[in-house]
């Protein structure tokens, strides 16, 4: 079982420094044009769903669009106003270039934006006319020790070990020499010393002590052996490296996507289901790249190039981002299963998720904080049973329980019942 190493705090500090640096550098390049700023807001709100500045998306890339149009097609800003406010009318009017664009992008019509004023459009164009900001190359962090922070902790450790080793050796040698001197000088009587019973000998001669300590030793080793064997097959903390680095932290944490949006079968099936890749593509059709900050964070903090990981998804589903279509061969992803229950246990997600209303996090931990998912719970029978003993059955709002709950209340005179009292400890409920 592989684990991702904890990055050293040094690299973390470096990363933060880098982010700071980047922040400054952008402000250096930023033009004082307020129009561009307003344009950026508008662009993100209205255009970004289909357009990117420097890449093809559903629609064409828009960096310097005005200049390019002027240069290549001889079209002015007026044409752009018309197009943006109502492209279909422009196409209908038979405008040559409008029709050409319409044809080129698979006869997909651009949404009309009559709500944008000319001024708004000017602002957007100002934003698109900005020079592309190329971030300074990211210093490589993986593997190479940085010189700025001095010795790495590991090296310090080794140095210390060597030092202590030398000290111990020195002391030993000194002691030995002194002793030799002492014997030579006759200060110490050798025979006398050897006759003096050592603690060790005394211990060996005391049978009671020997027996007690042997018993303690055996008990102790039995305790540890038991502990060792009990954790065989318990893979708590199992955190395999997946073929695609999928960050639950970003999806469930930052973007707050509901777990069951992707793991939809958890509601109705025994399996939570690994989402099929078409579910990913619902969003990633439009999200080919992560935000710049996220990308930097990935590179510095986790050593992951998120954009490359998205490309892996595209390869798997056969999506061609330039053609904006599924043209390539599909290559199903072989995920590594993290939670493995033995065959002789029947576990049903829907029972727990839909009926009992248990949060996913109860068993799977703070998934939304995990960059790489690990097995949070031990998944042992004791763990299951414990929860069944502690959890109240959720009777509310289910016609199924109405009668049963009434009868139980009448019989026992209490309102709530634990799952274990409803038969959730019976062998046959999970083993068949």
């Amino acid at each position: 079982m592989k684990k991702v190493n904890h990055r050293s705090s040094v690299s973390r500090i470096l990363g933060i420094a880098l982010v700071m640096m980047l922040a400054f550098s952008t402000s250096l390049f930023a033009q004082d044009d307020a129009a561009a700023k307003a344009g950026e807001v508008l662009f993100k709100a209205n255009c970004a769903a289909c357009h990117k500045l420097d890449a093809m998306s559903t629609g064409p890339m828009l960096r310097n669009i005005e200049a390019r149009l002027e240069e290549e097609q001889g079209l002015d800003r007026e044409w752009l106003y018309k197009w943006i406010k109502n492209s279909s009318a422009l196409i209908k009017s038979g405008d040559r270039y409008a029709v050409a664009v319409y044809e080129q992008y698979g006869k997909r019509q651009m949404t009309a934006f009559p709500q944008l004023s000319n001024e708004d459009i000017d602002n957007i164009l100002a934003y698109t006319a900005q020079e592309k900001v190329t971030p300074p190359p990211v210093p490589k962090l993986e593997g190479e020790p940085s010189t700025a922070g001095g010795f790495s902790s590991e090296m310090v450790l080794w140095a210390l070990i060597v030092l202590f080793g030398l000290l111990a050796l020195g002391l030993f040698l000194v002691n030995k020499t002194l002793r030799k001197f002492a014997i030579a000088n006759g200060t110490v009587n050798v025979e006398e010393e050897s006759k003096k019973p050592s603690v060790w000998k005394a211990f060996v001669q005391n049978q009671f002590l020997v027996i007690v300590s042997v018993i303690l030793l055996l008990l102790g080793s039995a305790y540890f052996a038991y502990g060792y064997f009990m954790q065989v097959g318990v893979d708590q903390g199992y955190q395999p490296i997946q073929p695609i680095h999928y960050s639950h932290r970003i999806h469930a944490g930052v973007n707050k996507i509901e777990c069951k949006y992707c793991h939809s079968s958890a509601r109705v099936s025994k399996h939570s289901g690994i989402p099929s890749l078409n579910v990913c593509m619902n969003c990633h059709k439009n999200i080919a790249e992560v935000a710049e900050e996220t990308q930097q964070e990935g590179l510095t903090k986790y050593g992951v190039d998120y954009n490359k990981e998205i490309q892996k998804l595209y390869t798997a589903v056969g999506w061609d981002p330039t053609a904006q279509d599924y043209v390539n061969e599909q290559k199903p992803v072989k995920w590594i299963r993290i939670h493995n229950l033995p065959d002789f246990v029947y576990f049903n997600h829907s029972q727990h998720v839909t009926v009992a209303g248990v949060e996913c996090q109860t068993c799977h931990g703070q998934i939304e904080e995990m960059e790489i998912v690990e097995q949070y719970s031990p998944l042992t029978m004791g763990w299951c049973i414990n929860c069944h003993r502690e959890t109240d059955v959720n009777f509310r709002g289910s016609a199924y329980y109405d009668k049963i709950h009434e009868q139980l209340k009448e019989k026992y005179g209490v309102e709530s019942f634990k799952a274990s009292e409803m038969g959730a400890l019976e062998c046959g409920k999970c083993h068949y």
């Binding site: 589903v317 199903p332 590594i336 493995n340 829907s350 016609a399 199924y400 038969g423």
Partner: protein, 1052 residues
Amino acid sequence: MASNKKYWKSVEELNENSSIVETLRQNEFVEEIPVDEFLGNKESLESSSTSRRDFLKYVGFSTAAATLAACEGPVIKSIPYVVQPERIIPGVADFYATTIADGYDFASILIKTREGRPIKVENNKEAAVKGSANARVHASVLSLYDNMRVKRPKIDGSDVSWKEFDGEVSQKLRTVSDSGKQLVLLTQTYASPSTSKLIAEFKAKYANVQHVVYDAISESTALDAFEAKYGERGLADYDFSKAEVIVSIGADFLGDWQGGGYDDGYAKGRIPTGKHGAKTMSRHIQFESNMTLSGANADKRVPLSPTDQKVALAKIYAGVTGNSISARNLSDKAEDAIKKAIGQIKQAGSKAVVVSGINDVDAQSLVLAINEALSSEAFDKDAPKKIREGNDAAVNKLINDMKADAVGGIIMAGVNPVYTLPNGKEFGEILQKLELAVTFTTKEDETAQQSKYVAAAPHYLESWGDVEMKKGYYSVMQPTIRPLFDTRQFQDALLKWTGNEKTYYEYIKETWQTGILNGASWNQAVHDGVFKTTVAVSLVDEATAAIEEDAVSVEETEEVELTTSASQQARKLASTSAAAGMELVLYAKTGMGDGQQANNPWLQEFPDPITRASWDNYLTISQADAEAKGLKNWNVANGGLNGSYVNVTVNGKTIENVPVIIQPGQARGTVGLAFGYGKKAGIQEEMQTGVNAYPLYEGFNAVQDVAIEPVAGVHEFACVQLHNTLMGRGDIVKETTLEIFNTKDHHVWNPMPHVSKNHEMIDATDPGADMWGEFDRSIGHHFNLAIDLNACTGCGACVIACHAENNVPVVGKTEVRRSRDMHWLRIDRYYSSADTFEGDVEKKENMSGLFGEEGSLGGFLEMENPAENPQVAFQPVMCQHCNHAPCETVCPVAATSHGRQGQNHMAYNRCVGTRYCANNCPYKVRRFNWFLYNQNDEFDYHMNNDLGRMVLNPDVVVRSRGVMEKCSMCIQKTQKTILDAKREGRQIKDGEFQTACSAACSSGAMTFGDINDKESKVAELLEDDRMYHLLEHVGTKPNVQYHVKVRNTKEA
């Protein structure tokens, strides 16, 4: 005691000196560990190359290796869909309606699929005709995953692509068609409107095409008779639920007679209903030679040889219609029975029905005439069944034409004539000489081996199709999985060869939309799987119909005599002289049918309901004849049944070394032999069991004059007959007569056993008789399974359904012989001594002492004189889920425990295999995994290959070696039902809870449900007077109810 009849399960039990019976009673698991064999032989021990040291080394090494290997968990990969189909949710089963129509079995069914894999067959309750699956249909899902299937088309034994195949065949089709020779389509019965239309188009395209329909086991005589009388080729349909008196002469209508499927209607009439004290049920009289399911269920069974049956039928005709016909006298008993039967038929009038399985056009015509004369309500001639179309005359003509070199090419589909024809070998030789011989097959069978072109055909679960099982009742066959192999169905090939670009799916859809649906929705029809119409449908236009006419004109010349009157036919039958020697009656076994699914291990291991033997066919013979010929059956020390061999000769053809089983109830002078066994081609070696009876099926007549000659040798049967004796405790099957049932209190015919407490007799169910405290089970669900012995016909559909649902392993012939069969549900079959019930009681009461005139030792033997004609009772037994289960208290590791819903749980992972539980179970329903039955080359059945394992139910664990298993009352199904209701927030309706067996039971013998739901049927049945528990006096408080069997013994 409801009856003091002494039941016995084997001829062996009647033998007082048999030590084996006693041994088995004492010792359930008879196999000793053969320590002596190994250690006792010093020489072999010394010659062994493994020294003690080596042995210890190996043990040490393997232990260390296993320990090391166990420390690291394997990396398990999961591969989700790239694009998930909308309807498939992993972990949730989908059901599709489809239809099986393999030429022998026809049924509208539902297929349960998981993640796109069909795993189980269920009954289609919406189907009005044949909506229930029999044992073979239930098992057919495993045949889909048969490793021996033909995987791609072949020419001369080498794999080719469909393109090459099409190229060669269409070219040959042209040549044959141009040569002026016949081009023959030899097919199974499809009963498919679209296929008929397609074949008509094929005929229009190519010259000289003949279409011959061939049923391996022919019903041609009944078809001919019906056609002659009503001008339409079909089979009269019968609704036995409407009949008060059923007289069957050699018709096993609970088996496969005329396609079968009559058990649900029959069972409805068998449950006593009506006002208290005046309850009625049907009366069933059976004249037959082999002991069949129908005979076993009859109120009165008269053993009669086939020739005598003909006379009997003539006499019944004469009696019912009032014609006088002179016929030879049969035995007194038979004459008396016939007289009384006539009386009852006349009394019942239109509420009576007569059926016959005699392979004779006259006899079949006579049956139609009798039912017509009675204007029987159960008889339906207006909407005949179409599930048999085979025509003997046409098949015979084809063979003659082939011999005369008048046939240029033949395309076969769904048939295996080289195996099933009496002169199959000869047929095969001609096939090789033909210009074109194509066979559409799923296996590389005998016919495929002789044909140049082998077209790989899909299984029915991968095909489209439509079936008209009964006039006006249509069914749709839809694929439930993508084809596993590179296969193509016959109809798609015909489309291709007629130059039609359509797929067969489009073709059917078009046919239905233009001709059948009459405006109704096609999607709805596919969804339901069935469609009923009252509008007359004609799909084949007149031009093509004319061609069809030409083809059949041949046969009609031979049927001129059919126009003769019924009385003439009766006279002709009456003049049948008695057979000079022995008569052989060929029949189809419940498990194997015509042998199409011989490579299906579930069916091979399915014990025959009558003989309880599996993995074999055999010659059934009466005790008297066996004694005369010196044939024997005996049990050996390990509980296995052994038998003698005979050579069977019919018309100079001899089948050598046929094992013999002595069958109580077999008519004297007759022997029986089952079809469907003895296959050698396209079948795994383990499944090559029994002998092939088809070579004796001369002239498609199931009755043949036979000579049998005992030969040396001993056959070892795999028979579960003497297994699991109920330790001599009687009172297992309670039964009574309708008269007593109606007139006496239920304490008389269904008495509660008493036990003594403080020297007072109290009811066994009295709380005072109990040493255990009772749990309160009144809240939540409490499951009960009710089994009505009156409705159970012993058909065995439940056995296979249980097999499929619960991943029960197949153990093979040698293991079954050692009593190690794994069936969670068995159907016990008990013979009883019939007739003199009162006499029996009297005799038993008069017994005194052990020896002497009235001694019990001789007395029992006399009383139980090997019944010439016993009564039979079937009793399905599975885990009884005792509330006070004896197995639970003896388990040292608490692996078996009780749930509050009434189910007795078995935690396999906890079981250490002491087998105490099996020892302590009074019902002997626990099964032990003596070996690893999956992924083990020693048990090379479906669980040993990737394809076969696809049939496994993912909700039920596959058990490993060394653990006990047993019926779980389908806890996975009850839990699913509960979960569905919880999720949807609703209460559970009665009928929603089902087990695999109760869902499979079409006769209504098994009812499952929640007795805490006071409205439920099973709660009502619990209070029924007929209800009793098995071995009530043991005090186990089972959750399985049985209902006293009532026989209608009223004579006219």
